[in-house]
């Protein structure tokens, strides 16, 4: 058995595992990423759209200027030819055995044969074409077919085919015979490998509840009953119908679609809430409304759990703008009309009478269950599972399993959506960075070039300035993929006659040895200073050839690729002459483009090894500790006299742990840490500079005099929190019997005798500031359950009413809702049209009038105490801090992240991160995870030497700039600024400046600048003009 040594093993290659692996690799640790499927990507790779943004933009999963969408990956670090030098991807691999402890694990892996060598597979599809075995495609959820020789998805990592030698394969060997690169070996055997690592991250993901277990819904018997993941494939633009939803029974466009919520959630067998189904069903219904004009979309649900940032607004848009109908009913069975295959649902109508409705398609919103591989793996690792079969962790150490050195992230921890999965993943990476601090940065990698590289692997770059262009053109035959259609010899001969071309040669397979060596040799021997590769897609192969020319001493931007395979040979198979002509033109365009190309160099900065953390609550303290424990200095700024934030007012939690002990522990560790410098009674007054090199001024209010301190730091973490809103509603502040839930918690803990005297308590949920954006504060329902249960425990005879809109006890918190009902807490729903009324009667008693929906009449309660669930609002000063940092706020007034789903802990501005309630209301464990995630992202920058920025970005020629503000208005990212200290055309004061560390390189400003004063470095106007000449110089 082979033995290898790394730092970390990440088990599971979905987005959580991939995200964790990238962060670890960027921090200079060696990572093994183990996935049992043939390709990376997990569940997210199958989703067409994310709620509530309706985008796919996995291409924006990382902050680097990644090339192209890398679906199913989340980063350009996961392309075959641009794999992060610190990540080893092992697909078709399972964990067999684990021995050892934290810092010293020995993991035995078993690699199942692919029967295809991914390094030599050219994705020509020949094996699949000749394969006689047709099977249902699991990637397309059985809605399409595949062969036994197949590729999981068009874009997969590894980018190669696989031979499925299940019982249906009769080993006919046609694939072997037809493969042009002889990369199929049916004699491949399973291999075992032992890897030595210091830490393990479990990112096993989830499985879907089995729709067939719910026989009453007829899945598998009624063709038009499908499950939610099937709907995702139908709605996906890469699905079997390119996104057109069709009825399985007859291929017709459905006119009435129903979604049934909580199938496999919130029931006897799965007593928890799956957290994602409400939102994905809303998304699916909205997509139906968009794509199928006039369709009726109806969602049958118990509560609409829209509990994250922008979710509530999304739900309202679905209801009001899109006309998605929401019906509060749990459907108990489906009947099919055997004639039409329509489906009949029975449910109580608005007047309480049962109605029967006809739908032509029903989607079962399947809940999430623990991954089926979890039990065995947990036993092998010795980690505990919770009663539901998900991974057990401590509330205040949310990412640590019961085995030290083994961490967990994503949906194996609890059901959750993508953004929270990313927070978990980066957070788990952060925990590993703490554990393995001595090894951080030991395997440095570089983003100096457009591809990822290990530091110092290249010879010095040749200075080609002043040389006339000497272009070398390499034409791949890629037999038969290109050669089969195109006259490659003719293309090569044509290329040699083009201006500037001094060398042209045919290659068999340019992406493989020995042809790679021939390219390098030709560059050196023929003294080439520009290179064109005419072959396959730059999307998959550009990083490879950029690396090759760089190895030969050229700047990687002096390479251009002509895609004569995917965009020529394969799409014009019936027109070989015209296709060859197009290929020649494409080569000429590439030559014209590259002739005018200039070297592009990224700028660099040696990062100051210090982080600034703003806010000393649980998130800020945790972030500071995570960074300091990893070996970097931290300046922690807190506005109040004491550290702790909201945690100072939380005395117990629903799960039972003691938050005051957490508070003491965090404060003591922060105060005692040699790497943390704490400024209390202090605020950040200014913040300038760029990632790696920020300068801030911290003002400390020490009595009559303010003291100012300048801090130099590489990264900034914003953790300024939020607070319970206190407004003038429901007689709060006018009658002492009306309190907030935080007040009630204080009474329960410090004056429990007052609780024992109560006869009736009314709790009102969703109390938010008037006329502002309505959003779910996420924590209130569970806090209400916590207090309601405690009131019932102290005083079982006390009546407790909860007036609520939607009961949002997501995930495992559902148990507290169940527990509250079991203890006799009475729940009454209200809606916006029937808000509860609180008043004082003439006799001084409190009166609460509420609308009873079931009976359709108003009832009056006379409680001794009213407890209000107040909204969580951003801390005062949030807007001012946003101005100082020059970062945006979300519609709710919290800080706005770089991307709602993909980058929840990052600001768009490199080097600034957020954690805790400054992002959005969240529970303690979520704030801790978020802080660990922000810390991990910060450490990836702190561990770099040097940090690269800029490069292929927009650059202003101030001598041409008239300061007209067009670029300022045009930029999608608000990066250009008019700087008064710059001089424009003709000596006018003020000219545009584009910060290279922030520019995203889209070139939108360059296209609109009326003075043509801005150039995008890798897409110079001269290059594009040349390329267009190349297209037409007949």
């Amino acid at each position: 058995m082979r033995r290898e040594i790394g730092n970390v093993m990440v088990i599971g290659g979905g987005v959580a595992g991939m995200r964790a692996a990238v962060d670890l690799a960027e921090a200079g640790l060696q990572v093994y990423l183990v996935e049992s499927a043939p390709a990376l990507g997990g569940r997210v790779a199958q989703l067409g759209y994310m709620f509530p943004t309706h985008d796919c933009v996995l291409c924006r999963g990382t902050s680097d200027h990644g090339y192209g969408c890398t679906r199913p990956a989340i980063s350009p670090a996961f392309q075959d030819h641009n794999l992060h030098p610190n990540i080893r991807v092992l697909t078709l691999t399972n964990v067999i055995r684990v021995d050892g402890q934290a810092g010293d694990f020995r993991v035995v892996l078993r690699h199942e044969p692919r029967y295809v060598d991914p390094a030599r597979c050219i994705n020509c599809d020949m094996c699949s074409l000749v394969c006689p075995v047709t099977l249902p495609s699991s990637f397309q959820q059985e809605l399409a077919t595949r062969k036994a020789a197949y590729k999981l998805a068009v874009r997969s990592i590894p980018n190669a085919y696989i031979i499925d030698r299940g019982p249906y394969c009769d080993d006919c060997g046609r694939c072997v015979a037809v493969c042009p690169t002889q990369c199929i070996n049916l004699n491949e055997e399973p291999r075992e490998l032992e890897v030595h690592v210091g830490a393990i991250i479990m990112a096993l993901g989830y499985d879907l509840a089995d729709a067939r277990e719910y026989e009453e819904f007829g899945f598998g018997r009624y063709p038009n009953v499908i499950h939610s993941m099937q709907y995702e494939r139908l709605a996906s633009r890469s699905g079997p119908t390119e996104g057109i939803v069709l009825r399985p029974s007859d291929g017709q466009r459905p006119k009435r679609i129903a979604w049934l919520q909580c199938v496999g959630s919130r029931d006897q067998k799965h007593p928890y809430c799956s957290s994602i189904c409400c939102m994905y069903a809303t998304k699916e219904a909205m997509i139906a409304k968009e794509r199928l004009p006039g369709v009726h979309a109806q969602v049958f649900m118990m509560d609409e759990r829209a509990f994250n940032k922008e979710f509530n607004a999304y739900y309202e848009t679905a209801r009001r703008k899109f006309g998605v109908e929401y019906t509060r009913a749990r459907i108990s069975f489906i009947k099919e009309d055997p004639e039409t295959k329509d489906l009949l649902l029975h449910y109580p109508g608005p007047d309480g009478k049962m109605v029967t409705d006809r739908f032509d398609m029903v989607v079962l919103s399947l809940g999430t269950v623990p991954p089926r591989s979890a039990g065995e793996l947990a036993r092998e690792l010795g980690i505990e599972l919770n009663p539901y079969g998900f991974c057990q962790t401590d509330k205040f150490m949310p990412l640590e399993t019961s085995v030290p050195g083994v961490y967990v992230c994503g949906t194996f921890l609890s059901p959750k959506e993508i953004s929270e999965t990313f927070l978990d993943a980066s957070g788990a990476a952060g925990e590993v960075m703490r554990l393995l601090r001595s090894q951080l940065g030991r395997s440095p990698s570089s983003r100096q070039y457009p591809f990822l590289s290990a530091d110092g692997e290249f010879p010095e770059e040749r200075d080609v300035s002043g040389e006339p262009p000497r272009v070398g053109v390499f034409v791949c035959r890629c037999e038969p993929a290109i050669d089969g259609t195109l006259d490659t010899q003719g293309i090569r001969d044509f290329a040699l006659k083009l201006p500037g071309v001094v060398h042209a040669e045919l290659l068999a397979y340019g992406c493989q040895e020995p042809d790679l060596r021939r390219i390098r040799q030709a560059v050196v021997e023929r003294n080439l200073n520009r290179v064109v590769i005419a072959g396959c897609s730059p999307r998959t192969h550009e990083p490879l050839f950029q690396r090759i020319v760089r190895q030969a001493g050229l700047n990687p931007y002096l390479l251009s690729m002509a895609n004569i395979r995917e965009q020529c040979a394969w799409v014009h198979e019936g027109q070989p002459d015209l296709a060859t002509r197009k290929a020649k033109e494409t080569v000429r365009m590439a030559v014209e483009r590259v002739r005018r190309a200039q070297p592009v160099h990224r700028l660099s900065v040696a990062p100051t090894r210090r982080a600034l953390v703003i806010g000393g609550g649980v998130a800020g303290m945790q972030a500071a500790l995570s960074i300091a424990d990893a070996g970097y200095n931290v300046t922690l700024v807190e506005r109040n006299a004491q550290l702790g934030g909201n945690l100072r007012h939380i005395f117990y939690v629903a799960e039972g742990q003691n938050p005051q002990r957490l508070l003491r522990d965090l404060v003591n560790r922060v105060r005692g840490h040699e790497r943390i410098e704490v400024f209390t009674r202090s605020e950040v007054k200014s913040h300038t500079g760029r990632t790696g090199d920020f300068r801030s001024v911290v003002v400390t209010h020490t009595g009559p005099l303010d003291v100012e301190t300048e801090v130099r730091h590489a990264v900034t973490i914003v953790a300024t929190g939020g607070e319970e809103w206190r407004g003038d509603v429901y007689m709060l502040g006018q009658d002492e019997r009306v309190v907030t839930q935080l007040d009630l918690e204080e009474i329960i803990v410090h004056r429990p005798e007052e609780i024992t005297r109560l006869k009736q308590v009314v709790m009102i949920q969703c109390v938010h500031p008037p006329s502002e954006v309505d959003y779910c504060s996420r924590v209130c329902c569970t806090n209400t359950m916590k207090n309601a249960i405690r009131v019932k425990m102290l005083n079982p005879g006390c009546q407790v009413y909860v007036l609520y809109k939607d009961m949002i006890t997501y995930g495992f918190r559902e148990q507290f809702y169940t527990e509250a009902r079991r203890r006799g807490v009475i729940f009454m729903r209200y809606d916006e049209q029937h808000l509860p009324q609180v008043s004082r009667a003439d006799d001084g008693r409190l009166e609460v009038r509420a609308w009873e929906q079931v009976f359709g009449r108003e009832i009056t309660l006379t409680p001794d105490l009213v407890a209000l669930s107040m909204a969580v609002v951003p801390s005062p000063g949030t807007a001012e801090l946003a101005k100082i940092l020059d970062v945006p706020l979300s519609v709710e007034g919290f800080f706005q992240e770089a991307h709602l789903k993909m980058r929840p802990m990052d600001f768009m501005d490199e080097g600034i991160f957020m954690a805790g309630m400054s992002h959005y209301p969240k529970f303690i464990e979520e704030a801790i995870t978020n802080a660990q995630a922000a810390a991990a992202r910060a450490i990836t920058l702190l561990a770099k030497e040097p940090l690269y920025y800029g490069g292929p970005v927009a650059v202003v020629d101030q001598d041409k700039c008239v300061g007209c503000l067009t670029c300022v208005r045009t930029c999608p990212f608000q990066i250009p600024k008019i700087r008064a200290d710059f001089t424009g055309v003709g000596g006018i004061v003020g000219a545009a400046y584009i910060e290279p560390a922030l520019c995203q390189g889209c070139g939108t400003c360059t296209a609109e600048c009326p003075a043509k004063a801005i150039q995008l470095m890798a897409y110079l106007d001269a290059q594009l003009a040349g390329e267009l000449t190349g297209a037409w110089a007949a």
Partner: protein
């Protein structure tokens, strides 16, 4: 002037596409071997927001009979709003082309997701058919006279 009905006319078309969804949909068409006319030449941009009106006019000046732009679906732009900028610019350029007698119909913009190989090919077919019906670029026709 119009070549309506002249089916021997093979238009020359330039397509500008972003390196995100558009280039990927073209690659998807390739991977699925979806066929489209070989008279469409593809020019890559970092984003459709980079499509300068000048590039479009250059293409027509050099002899393109038709030009189109392919970008990410609206709301799905890698650069958030680059494609919306491009759409506005295309509207402007269409008017310009009408004014100078080339005709705005020769220009269009499509929004295609990376998995939509069939749709990418359909855009190429659609533009080819449309330009074939419109006849050659008047600038080119003049050259021939």
């Amino acid at each position: 002037m119009s070549d309506n009905g002249n089916h021997t006319f093979e238009p020359e078309i330039t397509a500008f596409m972003c390196i995100y969804c558009a280039d990927m949909s073209a690659d998807t068409a390739g991977a699925l071997h979806v066929q489209y006319p070989a008279n469409v030449k593809l020019v890559k941009m970092p984003c459709t927001g980079k499509t300068d009106v000048k590039y479009i006019l250059d293409a027509f000046e050099h002899g393109a009979d038709g030009v189109y732009v392919v970008g990410c679906p609206i709301g799905n732009c890698h650069h958030v709003r680059g494609n919306e900028r491009a759409r506005k610019r295309i509207e402007r350029a269409k008017k310009l082309l009408d004014e100078i007698g080339i005709g705005g119909q020769r220009l269009d913009i499509f929004f295609v997701s990376g998995g939509m190989g069939e749709t990418f090919a359909r855009c190429a077919h659609e533009m080819t058919e449309r330009i074939r019906a419109l006849g050659p670029n008047p600038l080119r026709a003049k050259e021939r006279d």
